[in-house]
């Protein structure tokens, strides 16, 4: 076994998954722990489905195998379902209660599961649903959804909240530190309740 803690962050290109994974990586550095990560770049980013792998205490490769992730953070419900097989038995799932319908659904008239259907398909998992969009607006910017989600998931991440906050301060644009700090704290409070 690797002995580390494996986190997947999934969403749609442009939702800030890379910044979220960078915050986790920076927090590992702050705690002087090794870390590995992998992410989607290039063509795959143009509004497509994206995944970031972050392996806290990782020492070898960057990839998390299906069925072995400790935590899956979904910025979108459909993407959370798409990658849900990456979670290990008993793994934790923290998902933003929101779904962007893929354009392919409109153009090709494809069927799409409803929110309720997605929730029932995830029923066997340790699921925490967060209304991150509303929380991010409350924090001061709809762009802070990624930090809200990190806050909500932070109870399960083996990194101190202080380390995550320090990482956020280092990595977000200086004029958004106050908003993102609030986003993290509001997200953390929301994550406490489920």
């Amino acid at each position: 076994m690797t002995g580390g803690y494996d986190i997947m962050i999934v969403g749609i290109g442009g939702q800030g998954t890379i910044l979220a994974s960078n915050i986790l990586g920076e927090a590992c550095l702050i705690e002087k722990r090794s870390v590995r990560g992998a992410e989607t770049h290039g063509m795959a980013q143009r509004g497509g489905s994206v995944e970031s792998h972050i392996r806290v205490d990782g020492r070898h490769g960057p990839l998390i195998a299906p069925g072995t992730a400790d935590l899956l953070i979904g910025f979108d419900m459909l993407e959370a379902l798409r990658y849900s097989h990456f979670l290990k038995d008993g793994g934790r799932l923290v998902v933003n209660r929101r779904m962007v319908i893929p354009t392919s659904v409109y153009v090709q008239k494809l069927p799409i599961p409803s929110e309720e259907e997605i929730i029932s398909q995830l029923a066997g998992k340790d699921l925490c649903l967060i209304d991150a969009d509303a929380t991010a607006r409350e924090a001061g910017s709809p762009l802070s959804v990624n930090v809200v989600m990190l806050g909500a998931a932070s109870h399960h991440i083996p990194l101190a909240a202080d380390s995550l906050l320090l990482a956020i301060k280092r990595l977000v644009p200086p004029n958004t530190v106050v908003i993102n700090t609030k986003a993290f704290e509001l997200g953390r409070a929301a994550g406490q309740t489920c």
Binding site: M1, T2, I12, G13, S21, N22, G25, E26, C28, L29, R33, S34, V35, R36, G37, A38, E39, T40, H41, G42, M43, A44, Q45, R46, G47, G48, S49, G58, H60, G61, P62, L63, A65, P66, G67, T68, L78, E79, L81, R82, Y83, S84, H85, K88, D89, I101, P102, T103, S104, V105, Y106, V107, L110, P111, I112, P113, Q121
Partner: protein, 589 residues
């Protein structure tokens, strides 16, 4: 010393700064692009950096720099090395005086590529060293060592990270950044630099004579190492070595190769200590072939006997599966799970407001029975709009089109090619098509930037890699200089003019060029251009579906009516398509 959490390509760029590098050139290509992006954007650069128009141009520039005694880095993706193969092969003969490192980033699984070729093969072909990192730390250390190795051996060195090195992240120990103090100076030596037959025969012999020293020095670098732990062994290289380390049990020996060509005696000595060896590497069986040559009667498992795949990328789970298939017991068992079936896909898509979408839409309308050769860029996504029939390699839209014409294809040929791709290798095909009188239409999708790989400037942009202003190339003038009689530039957001231009060229003879010119919607937004959003009037929307079929991610179906979401960038094309006139600018009456 400093420890940072970096993208593989950022760590590689830092390794270049530690060397220090004097000269940097390359052509963007996933997964290689961020190295030059980092190096060209740093303040107080002590080195020269450029985005070249193609990989051949980039390598010839870098080779000349290395001939002048400075340290040169040339970056590209694996398929770019095909374009640069001509100077590459003979640069091994001429050698270098300053270090020349050619970074050719491979893409197993073709995450963002047209094939899965293995750059290690080129190093073998050219008889030059190849460094193949297993981790980001090793990538950082290797690129630094590669410059001194290149200088010591007098040979270019291929540095071959893969996608899972370039685009993965890790904590990396960095060394101090050094200031480049070298200044290039060419020392005339025709016997080395003029490869006429009389000279090149001698240079080839010298290259071959260098090989034993190459193997010896590569062995001493420490990137090839072995641990004997039992009667069975796994022999591996590159990122696959990291995957092997996650699943190898304590009683199986481990040999890792990071520097090619490998010392065959060292390898043979290791193999002889075992009864069975398994070779695990991504893509071509380069290491496996050497293992099989020296293995004697030791059993070898790998690709050639069907245990490991020739294609795709590996992973810890894939390595465990290969091990199990030849009787090795992995230290870790992976669950057999599969994704939830039948979910609607979310592939990459042209952005809301992308200028390519209306062009493809209009081409399909005007040339209903046409054939659409296309090229490499974001616009390859025009496949989703039914307007891309062929893509093979950079610049091959025009050439494939003219080839079809002369083969006897009688339908209309409409080739699409981006500005950067046209400058890369499209111009020659255009000149050829005009001179040989092909009857076809070429649409240059001119968004003034190399968008797909991350918005690198090209000669249409008006800025250099380092952000210095430069006079932009006129695509109209280039086309006219190639002999094109009809060149027209249109705004692709203006559907009426675009459609008229396409209809107009239909009747004309020879090669016609339409330049559809509009800024990439992402660079436009970054530059602060705001066009205002559009919205659908639900009262008058008839639900005809025309705007939905346009395929813009800003347009949704809300019950039976269309609606526009916050992705709208205000291109107004859908408003021009709507037969009911229901789409209007927000705030307009």
């Amino acid at each position: 010393m400093e420890r940072r959490y970096l993208l593989g390509n950022e760590a590689i760029a830092h390794g270049c700064l530690e060397s220090p590098v004097s000269f940097v050139s390359g052509y963007p290509g996933t997964p290689s692009s961020e190295v030059i992006e980092v190096l060209s954007s740093l303040p107080d650069r002590s080195y020269y950096a450029e985005w070249s128009v193609n990989e051949k141009v980039a390598l010839e520039n870098a080779l000349a720099a290395a001939w002048c005694g400075v340290r040169a880095l040339c970056t590209m993706k694996h398929v770019g090395l095909n374009v640069a193969a001509d100077p590459l092969m003979t640069s091994a003969y001429t050698g270098v005086t300053g270090g020349l490192v050619i970074m050719s980033a491979d893409d197993p699984y073709a995450h963002s590529s047209q094939n899965e070729q293995d750059s290690r093969m080129y190093a073998k072909f050219a008889r030059i060293p190849c460094l193949d990192p297993a981790t980001i730390q090793e990538a950082h250390d290797m690129v630094r060592d590669a410059f001194s190795l290149s200088e010591e051996l007098g040979l270019p060195v291929i540095f071959r990270p893969t996608t899972r090195i370039c685009h993965s992240k890790g904590d990396v120990e960095l060394g101090p950044v050094l200031q480049n103090r070298r200044k290039g100076e060419f020392h005339r030596n025709p016997r080395q630099y003029v490869v006429i037959p009389a000279h090149t025969r001698i240079l080839h012999k010298k290259l071959n004579e260098k090989q034993p020293k190459v193997r010896k020095r590569l062995g001493e670098l420490g990137y090839n190492h072995a641990t004997v732990r039992g009667s069975r062994a796994i022999i591996t290289s590159g990122i696959a070595a990291s995957y092997v380390q996650e699943v190898i049990p304590d009683d199986v020996s481990f040999l890792k190769v990071g520097a090619f060509p490998v010392d065959e005696e060292w390898l043979a000595d290791f193999i002889r200590m075992h009864e069975e060896v398994l070779v695990i590497e991504e893509l071509a069986p380069i290491l496996e072939e050497t293992v099989r040559e020296v293995a004697g009667c030791v059993t070898v498992y790998g690709k050639k006997d069907g245990h490991a795949p020739y294609e795709g990328e590996l992973s810890p789970a894939a390595v465990a599966g290969i091990m199990a298939s030849c009787g090795f017991t992995p230290s870790r068992i992976f669950p057999d799970v599969s994704p939830v079936p039948d979910l609607p896909p979310r592939p990459p898509i042209l952005c809301a407001g992308c200028m390519h979408r209306p062009v493809f839409y209009a081409i399909r309308k005007v040339f209903k029975d046409g054939i659409y050769p296309s090229d490499i860029g974001c616009y390859t996504l025009g496949l989703q709009l039914g307007a891309v029939d062929t893509t093979i390699c950079m610049g091959a839209s025009i050439t494939v089109g003219s080839g079809m014409v002369h083969a006897g294809e009688e339908r209309e040929i409409i080739a699409t090619i981006g500005d950067s791709t046209f400058l890369h290798t499209g111009i020659q095909g255009l000149m050829n098509a005009v001179y040989n009188d092909a009857r076809m239409t070429v649409v240059i999708l001119d968004n003034r930037i190399t968008a797909m790989t991350g918005h690198q400037p090209n000669p249409t942009t008006g800025l250099t890699a380092c952000g210095m202003p430069a006079a932009p190339v006129s695509l109209e003038a280039v086309c006219r200089a190639c002999g094109v009689g009809f060149v027209e530039t249109v705004d692709p957001y203006d559907m009426a003019t675009l459609t008229t231009a396409l209809k107009d060229v239909k009747e004309r003879p020879g090669v016609k060029v339409i330049i559809a010119k509009q800024h990439c919607v992402i660079t436009a937004r970054r530059a602060g251009i705001r066009r205002g959003r559009y919205r659908v009037d639900p009262e008058t929307c008839t639900g005809c579906g025309i705007c939905i079929a346009f395929g813009c991610p800003a347009i949704e179906r809300d019950d039976e009516k269309a609606s526009i979401n916050e992705l709208c960038s205000g291109c107004a094309v859908c408003a021009q398509l709507c037969p009911a006139g229901s789409i209007r600018k927000e705030g307009a009456r």
